[in-house]
Every structure is written in structure tokens, then in C-alpha cells.
């Protein structure tokens, strides 16, 4: 494999068994259903999709918090999708997660110091308390919670949402991971704080040469912080490419709908209706045949889109899975 890829995901499926039907045939929620993507070293990529599209499941599968049903995942050239939990401890140190909800992801009974020291103790990184203290101080300075001594002794409830998310970032960084999956890291924060936290993540990513995979529904914010976009719909990647190309010329009708649904602050918006498809994303238990977007697609071709599943192929600058381009 080429050395500039940190993560390679090949045709991964993560299905959850929900119940068995009459004849004992299992029913599945097909959260991730045949996804391939690469994350380069030091790259920031983003998986963008609406709720229920499977983006969080994809992120957690890459982190091996879920085991995929099929497909392959390579980290640094080493296959990790089939490893058992006890064989994964080294990977837990290399790959970290930042959750969406800074109110729920930090243990309310722990001080900031304890929250940050846990990963160090679990992975036997520091040899004594003094060293732990040093690492924690540096981490708090990195995320601009200064003076660190003051924040170390606080409990999560004494911090604002933005400060808590900084603690969550510090916790992800203390192990100096090579990969971070950030699952909607700023969606619970105010607009003015969002930019600050995202900029901080970007700075730290560059400083520590970490790769970040953002999981988000917010195309407008992520465009400033991610070089590559993967647009996900109903468990599949339907378009991918460089962020600027995807936004400048979205090819898939779903991507076009996403781009046209987001209002920039512009007084002209008051005067018009938005041209967006009606309906809702399909059920992941029984996704539509053929192209999964076909029931909502304005360019639906009968006999083709509802029968044949489009494959991701290169068209212009992007990769797109749509029969209009094949």
C-alpha cells in the first residue's frame, strides 16, 4: 500500500440484528452498507450526512467500536477489522474519538485531572504522578484552558459547553493519537464558539500531525476545516471528492439538494422558496432497490434507477454514484 494512507476502508458493512422474522431469518438495520474510503496521514476528511445516514456507525466501525459484518479495514497497512478486542489495545492508543455531547461524554464525578489521567494510566504511559501531571498540564495548555492548575481541579458541571468540549479534545490528545474521529464535535455549541473550537482542533491537528475524520451534518461549517468530503446517504457514500469541487459543482442530486437547502445569510432568501426534494430518508431496514435516493430524486429514470444500483465512479473532479453520470 502507498505510505500516505493511514486508514483504508474497503466495502465495509456494519449491520445490526434487530429481530428474527417468522422463519428465524434475521432482520438487519443496514447502517453502513458497502462503504470504501481512505484517510491520508495528517489529512482532515469529513463524512457528511443527515441523521440516520449511518455516518456515526461508520466512524465507530473505523475505530473498531463496532465490528463490521464484512469488508476490510487497514490501519497503517495492518488489517484491523477482524481483530478481537484484546488484540486491539495498541489501536485504542492510536485512534481516539471526540463525541458530540460534551455534557454526556465526561464523567460528572471526575475532576478534569482524573478525566485526563485515565487514558494515561490505562495505557501505562506515564511512569509516575509527576509525569502524568506534566502531560495533563501540557494538554490543558494546548486546548487553551489556562491556567491549567485551575482547570485541573474542576468538575465538568463547573465548565461551559465550549470548555467541556476542550476537555474532551484534551482527553483525545493526551495519548498523541494518529487518528481522531470527531463525531459532530461542535453541533451542540453556539455559532461563535463553534469556529473557535474547530480552529483549535485544526491547529492541534497540524501540531501533532494527526488525521481527523469529521462526522457531521453541517456542510457549511465543515467546508472550512476539511479537505475531502464523503457524502453519505442511507448507508452508502454517494459522492466524494475535494471539498471545494464537491461544493462548487455537486453532481449527485442528493448533494445538490443538500447544498441548495443550506441558507447563507442573504436578504434575497426571504423572497424565494427553496427547491428541495420532499420526503424523508428511507428506513435502513428496507432500503429502496437500485439507487437509494430514487424515491426522492427529481431526475428519476424508471426501469434504471429503481433496478440497478449505481457504483461510485469518477466523473469530472468527483466520484459519484448516480446513473446520470454512468
Amino acid at each position: 500500500m502507498s505510505t500516505n494512507r493511514l486508514v483504508e476502508v474497503r466495502d465495509v458493512r456494519t449491520w445490526f440484528e434487530v429481530s428474527r422474522g417468522l422463519l428465524g431469518k434475521p432482520l438487519y438495520v443496514r447502517a453502513v452498507d458497502g462503504v470504501s474510503l481512505d484517510i491520508g496521514r495528517g489529512e482532515s476528511a469529513a463524512v457528511v450526512g443527515e441523521s440516520g445516514s449511518g455516518k456515526t456507525t461508520l466512524g465507530k466501525t473505523i475505530l473498531r467500536l463496532y465490528k463490521p459484518k464484512s469488508g476490510e479495514i487497514y490501519y497503517n497497512g495492518r488489517r484491523i477489522d477482524n481483530l478481537e478486542e484484546e488484540e486491539l489495545k495498541w489501536y485504542r492508543r492510536e485512534a481516539q474519538i471526540i463525541y458530540q455531547d460534551p455534557f454526556g461524554s465526561l464523567n460528572p464525578f471526575f475532576t478534569v485531572e482524573r478525566i485526563l489521567s485515565e487514558p494515561l494510566t490505562i495505557h501505562n504511559i506515564a511512569k509516575d504522578y509527576r509525569e502524568i501531571k506534566q502531560v495533563i498540564n501540557q494538554a490543558l495548555i494546548d486546548v487553551k484552558l489556562e491556567p491549567p492548575e485551575m482547570f485541573a481541579s474542576k468538575h465538568p458541571h463547573m465548565l461551559s459547553g465550549g470548555q467541556r468540549q476542550r476537555v474532551a479534545i484534551a482527553r483525545a490528545l493526551v495519548l498523541k493519537p494518529k487518528l481522531i474521529v470527531a463525531d459532530e464535535p461542535v453541533s451542540m455549541l453556539d455559532a461563535s464558539v463553534r469556529v473557535e473550537i474547530m480552529s483549535l482542533l485544526e491547529t492541534l491537528q497540524k501540531k501533532y500531525e494527526t488525521s481527523i475524520l469529521y462526522i457531521t451534518h453541517d456542510l457549511a461549517t465543515i467546508k472550512y476545516f476539511s479537505q475531502t468530503l464523503y457524502i453519505m446517504y442511507a448507508g452508502k457514500i454517494i459522492e466524494s471528492g475535494a471539498t471545494k469541487d464537491v461544493l462548487k459543482e455537486p453532481l449527485h442530486p442528493y448533494t445538490q439538494a443538500l447544498v441548495s437547502a443550506i441558507p447563507d445569510p442573504n436578504p434575497e432568501n426571504r423572497l424565494k422558496y427553496r427547491d428541495v426534494p420532499a420526503g424523508e430518508p428511507p428506513s435502513p431496514m428496507a432500503p429502496p432497490s437500485g439507487c437509494r435516493f430514487h424515491p426522492r430524486c427529481p431526475h428519476f429514470i424508471a426501469g434504471k434507477c429503481d433496478v440497478l444500483e449505481p457504483q461510485l465512479t469518477k466523473s469530472k473532479n468527483n466520484y459519484v454514484a448516480c446513473h446520470l453520470y454512468s
Partner: protein
């Protein structure tokens, strides 16, 4: 066009262990019938509290509630509670609460919940009410078959439409929308905004739209009022507030709003909004303001009229 709602020095403080929290602190504005005013600001700036203060839906821990809410010539603060519930709520003004789609009762069908308004408030029989409920669902572009469904069978967007239908059931003139799309996906959000625009045209509705998202505000607003720490710092017609913001806070807020199609650099506002129990002296934005002067720390800026309907509260614009 006549003024349907006028606030005069509306004030709402909450009583807490840390003292009075000044959530709404002397807010005044006029709103014309059939128009939409957006209240924009960060969380904790008092936007939702202002909505409650207008509707007079107050929690128990009210410390101070004063000023005037003149709705169609009547001051709501001087009405009896019984008059409010008999004559004002739902019939004249209604509200779609934040996260309202989770407020539907999970054990009642959609039809029962929508028709309940008619049996309770309009004294209709059950069959009459059911018919009305079906009409309402059509109004918000939902299929009539939904009437026998339960909330868990509906998507987020459908639930939000049901909640809007209930708010509109008794044909109010004023609808307060508190972040009505914040939990929805962008495409669903765009569909709901389209619906709100159509309903406004059809029924000449007046909206107060509360949001933290200036992009979303630009979709619906004729006027925008920017709120910071319990006060309106800038207001005016949407076009001039969006294209020519005067208050440093509005300017910063716009610069911090991501723009999908533009290539502007994204900024952030250093610091965080103040604690409303102990707001800063003088101008409440002064600790975060890039243009802060000594006078800003001492003197509270008064609203300065720049042109018709256009006000800004900032010492930079106050003429001596």
C-alpha cells in the same frame, strides 16, 4: 399596515440562589401585522425568555415582570390569567416551542391530539373535531392517513408539522416560533421553512422567529432584532441588518456564520456571553468588543435611531 404587537420596556428577571437573573432587560419594539421579526442571538441571551414574557407563560421563579405587551391595543400584562387562556392563547397568539416535536403525547394518536384543541377550546363535538383535524393536517401538507398514527411512527419533520398544525388550530394572528427546525436535518428544515412561508402568505400570519442562525433568519425575516445579554443591541429591516450591520456584536456574529457559497474567512468572537446574574456594567458586550472605549465600561448605550425602524445601541453610534 397596522401594528399588531408593541413591547414597551419589557423586563423579566428570574429569582435564583445567585440573585436575579436578568434574562429580558427592557426590551421595546413594534411589529406590523403580516410581517416576521427574527430574534437572533447566542444561547443564554434571553431569546426564549422574551418569547415567554410576550406570551405571559412564566415559570414560578419570577423575580420581576414588568413593562407592556400591547397586543391589538390591549396590554397583556394587565389581563386576568383566565382572560389570557380564554381569549388570547391559541386564539390570538400561539407558540411552537423549541424541541416541540418531543412534546407530543406518545400514547395518543395524532388525530386525538390535534382534535383535542377543538373539543377543549372551541366546544366542538368529537366528530366535528376529527373533521377539523383532518383539514388541519392537509393545511400543513400531511396525508390524512396520519390521523390514526402515533408519534413514534412519524419522522421528525412530520412531528414538527403536527405541532405547527396544533399551534395554528384556532387561527391565531401571531405565531412565535422558537428554533422550530433546530433538531431537523437541513433538507427537512428547508421544507418546513417553505411551509412557514406559504402559511404566512395564505393567512397573513405575523411571526416572531427565534433562532441563533443568521442564515436561517434571512429565510423568513422582514425585520431582525439582535439580542445580547437580555437586551436588543440592534434592530431594523432584515436587508440592512444583514448587509450593513452597525453593532460590533452583529458584525462579529455575521463573520462567525459559516457561508456555504462565499469564500470569506470565518471568525469567532473571543470570550463567552456574560452571566446574566451579574452582567457587565455599561455596555454588556464591552468585554468582548474589539472597539471598546473607556466610556463603554461605564455608560449603558441607549438605542440610537439611525433611520426609520433602524436602531442600534452602541456608544460608537450615539451622537452627543
Amino acid at each position: 399596515m397596522n401594528t399588531i404587537l408593541a413591547l414597551k420596556d419589557l423586563t423579566l428577571y428570574y429569582r435564583t440562589r445567585r440573585g436575579a437573573v436578568k434574562a429580558v432587560d427592557g426590551v421595546s419594539f413594534d411589529l406590523k401585522e403580516g410581517r416576521c421579526l427574527s430574534i437572533v442571538g447566542e444561547s443564554g441571551c434571553g431569546k426564549s425568555s422574551m418569547a415567554y414574557a410576550i406570551m405571559r407563560i412564566l415559570p414560578r421563579n419570577v423575580h420581576t415582570y414588568r413593562g407592556e405587551v400591547i397586543f391589538e391595543g390591549k396590554n397583556l400584562l394587565s389581563l386576568q390569567e383566565s382572560e389570557l387562556s380564554k381569549e388570547v392563547w391559541l386564539k390570538k397568539m400561539a407558540m411552537v416551542f423549541q424541541g416541540a416535536m418531543n412534546s407530543l403525547n406518545p400514547v395518543l394518536s395524532v388525530g386525538e391530539q390535534v382534535s383535542e384543541v377543538f373539543t377543549l377550546h372551541a366546544g366542538m363535538s368529537k366528530t366535528e373535531a376529527q373533521k377539523k383535524a383532518a383539514e388541519l393536517l392537509e393545511l400543513v401538507r400531511l396525508p390524512a392517513t396520519l390521523i390514526d398514527k402515533y408519534p413514534h411512527e412519524l419522522s421528525g419533520g412530520m412531528k414538527q408539522r403536527v405541532v405547527i398544525a396544533i399551534a395554528l388550530s384556532l387561527k391565531p394572528k401571531l405565531l412565535i416560533l422558537d428554533e422550530p427546525t433546530s433538531a431537523l436535518d437541513v433538507i427537512t428544515q428547508a421544507n418546513i421553512i417553505n411551509l412557514l412561508k406559504k402559511l404566512q402568505e395564505e393567512f397573513n400570519l405575523t411571526y416572531i422567529f427565534i433562532t441563533h442562525d443568521l442564515g436561517l433568519a434571512s429565510e423568513l425575516s422582514d425585520y431582525i432584532a439582535v439580542m445580547y445579554a437580555g437586551k436588543i443591541v440592534e434592530s431594523g429591516d432584515a436587508r440592512s441588518v444583514l448587509t450593513d450591520p452597525k453593532h460590533p456584536y452583529t458584525q462579529k456574529l455575521l463573520a462567525a456564520t459559516p457561508k456555504l457559497l462565499e469564500e470569506a474567512k470565518l471568525e469567532f468572537i473571543p470570550g463567552s456571553p456574560p452571566d446574566l446574574a451579574y452582567p457587565p456594567t455599561g455596555c454588556r458586550f464591552h468585554p468582548r468588543c474589539p472597539f471598546v472605549m473607556d466610556a463603554c465600561r461605564l455608560n449603558e448605550p441607549k438605542p440610537t435611531k439611525l433611520s426609520e425602524d433602524r436602531y442600534v445601541s452602541c456608544l460608537l453610534w450615539e451622537r452627543v
